[in-house]
């Protein structure tokens, strides 16, 4: 049983909010639930140990494998996506505890619109619900000062979801310690093409000179401008493709990891060798 699973198996904790710190849940002590207490304690200890070494500033996740996981445990795909969202909250908390400043997740691809309509609708409903939970009185968001940004070609989304997204971004605008980038709907080629178009329009209007066009200018026009460079990219479910995610950002010094488990099974245990690899390579890189 991995460290993360032990805490989520105790029902009253995970459903309400996903913070498992001792301060918020006084009933979690050694005498009432010793195993949960010990695993939570060892998890926090492990995170504190990892924090002693260098920690990446920007990590990207491709949350792949929800449908296959649902098939594996024989539930509906909607349920798989729901578990995927819960896992996202959990992993987000792990990353913020570790000290990672920016987390970018691939929530929905432009290609995913081609999936059956019921699945797309389920995903949209789930997104609406979860977004509302995220920005309304959420413990982790306020504890770590998370600013939520939605990246992607928003013209393809339904109106009410757009309104929810704007509300989420507005509500967390003033937070500036950490950033959560939700890529929905997103394709890296679309991002690069949009950046190119913005640069061309800028030059057309006369705001920039042609000679000033370089990598940095294009970088600043991407959706992820303002974020530190991407240092780790993790894809779950064993697929070894990038699938149009952050192609421009990960093409230089970024460590790409393909993890062989489905997204709802991802936990601190899988994150550990990735962070250790990063720390080992850090000295060689700098």
């Amino acid at each position: 049983m991995s460290l993360g699973e032990a805490t989520t198996n105790c029902a009253p904790i995970s459903n309400k909010s996903f913070s498992t710190s001792l301060h918020l849940f006084p009933e979690l002590n050694f005498f009432t639930s010793p195993i949960a207490y010990l695993s939570n304690f060892s998890r926090r200890l492990l995170i504190k140990v990892l924090r002693q070494g260098p920690i990446p500033q920007h990590v990207g996740f491709v949350m792949d494998g929800n449908r296959r996981f649902a098939k594996k445990i024989q539930v509906q795909t909607g349920e798989g996506h729901y578990m995927g969202f819960q896992k996202l909250e959990e992993v987000l908390e792990i990353c913020l505890e570790l000290g990672i400043k920016v987390v970018t997740v691939y929530a929905f691809s432009i290609e995913n619109f081609k999936r059956p309509k019921e699945e797309v609708d389920t995903l949209m409903n789930l997104a609406r619900k979860k977004l509302r939970e995220l920005y309304e009185n959420n413990d982790v968001v306020s504890k770590y000062g998370v600013s939520i940004r939605i990246l992607g070609n928003k013209t393809l989304l339904p109106e009410d979801l757009l309104i929810e997204m704007e509300k989420a971004e507005d509500a967390t605008k003033r937070n500036n310690r950490t950033i959560l980038n939700l890529c929905c709907p997103y394709t890296s080629r679309d991002e690069i093409a949009t950046a190119v178009r913005k640069v061309v329009i800028q030059v057309e209007k006369g705001e920039t000179n042609i000679s000033e066009i370089d990598e940095k200018l294009l970088d600043s026009k991407l959706y992820t401008n303002g974020c530190p460079p991407l240092e780790i990219l993790i894809r779950t479910s064993g697929e070894t493709r990038l699938s149009d995610f952050l192609l421009w950002q990960c093409h230089e010094k970024c460590n790409i990891h393909f993890v062989n488990c489905y997204w709802p099974e991802f936990s601190l245990w899988e994150m550990l060798p990735i962070i250790l690899d990063y720390q080992r390579g850090f000295l060689g890189r700098r």
Partner: protein, 229 residues
């Protein structure tokens, strides 16, 4: 030059099982792969027949293979000896790729040591293929970046990555100012048509010779659906 027939192909030994186990295979296929990787020892002499036989068991072979060379320290000058060793390796890789049925092979190295020696590399590869396929009736041809041949080798370096996208942006600006294209019509297809080169289609498989997967400047636009090992 060493006698090619007595070479060992250690990287080919590693590559064949890597490609075999990268797809979702049935149990029988997995057992076959296991036995093949056990029977090829590093000191074995490889012949065209053996390589072709190995590849017959695969359901899918990539048409375009990209290979990434990775070096820990950025060196500006590479000694002659190292260059010769590298060219030998590349010639062996080309012979192996010819047997495997791979049509396009792209070799990426951040610093363009390969690009500046394209002619030398071409002659090396020709000598190597002549020796390797000495017993075959038809000797397949390789051309370093030209169209009509059995295997096409592309030499790619860092300037084909982001720099090329920047150059393409500048040319788009010129075209927009001249009125050839409207700026709000610039989308993914337009950028794709300008960036894709017929000699360099999207690679289906990218193999990195490095302890970790780091792209190190490989052209970002072309690898959206590439399997990376």
């Amino acid at each position: 030059m060493r006698d090619i027939k007595r070479f060992s192909y250690p990287w080919a030994v590693k590559l064949t099982p890597m490609i075999m186990t990268s797809k979702k295979l049935s149990l029988m296929a997995r057992i076959t792969c296991f036995w093949i990787s056990k029977t090829i020892r590093s000191n074995d002499v490889l012949t065209p027949g053996k390589v072709r036989e190995d590849f017959k068991r695969l359901e899918k072979v990539p048409k375009h293979l990209a290979v990434l060379y990775w070096r820990k320290h950025e060196e500006t000058k590479i000694s002659n000896n190292e260059k010769m060793i590298k060219f030998n390796e590349i010639s062996q890789l080309c012979c192996w790729a010819l047997c495997a049925g791979i049509r396009v092979l792209s070799l990426y190295e951040a610093k363009d040591h390969l690009k500046s020696n394209a002619d030398l590399l071409q002659s090396h590869i020709e000598i190597a293929t002549r020796q390797f396929f000495a017993n075959d009736k038809i000797i397949p041809t390789t051309r370093v970046s030209a169209l009509d041949s059995n295997l096409q080798v592309n030499l790619v370096s860092r300037e084909d990555g982001r720099d090329r996208i920047v150059k393409m942006t500048k040319s788009l600006v010129y075209d927009t100012l001249k009125g050839k294209i409207k700026s709000d019509k610039i989308d993914v297809e337009e950028v794709d048509s300008r960036l894709s080169v017929p000699q360099f289609p999207e690679p289906q498989l990218l193999i990195t010779f490095a302890p970790e997967i780091v792209l190190d400047g490989f052209p970002p636009w072309h690898i959206r659906l590439t399997e990376i090992l």
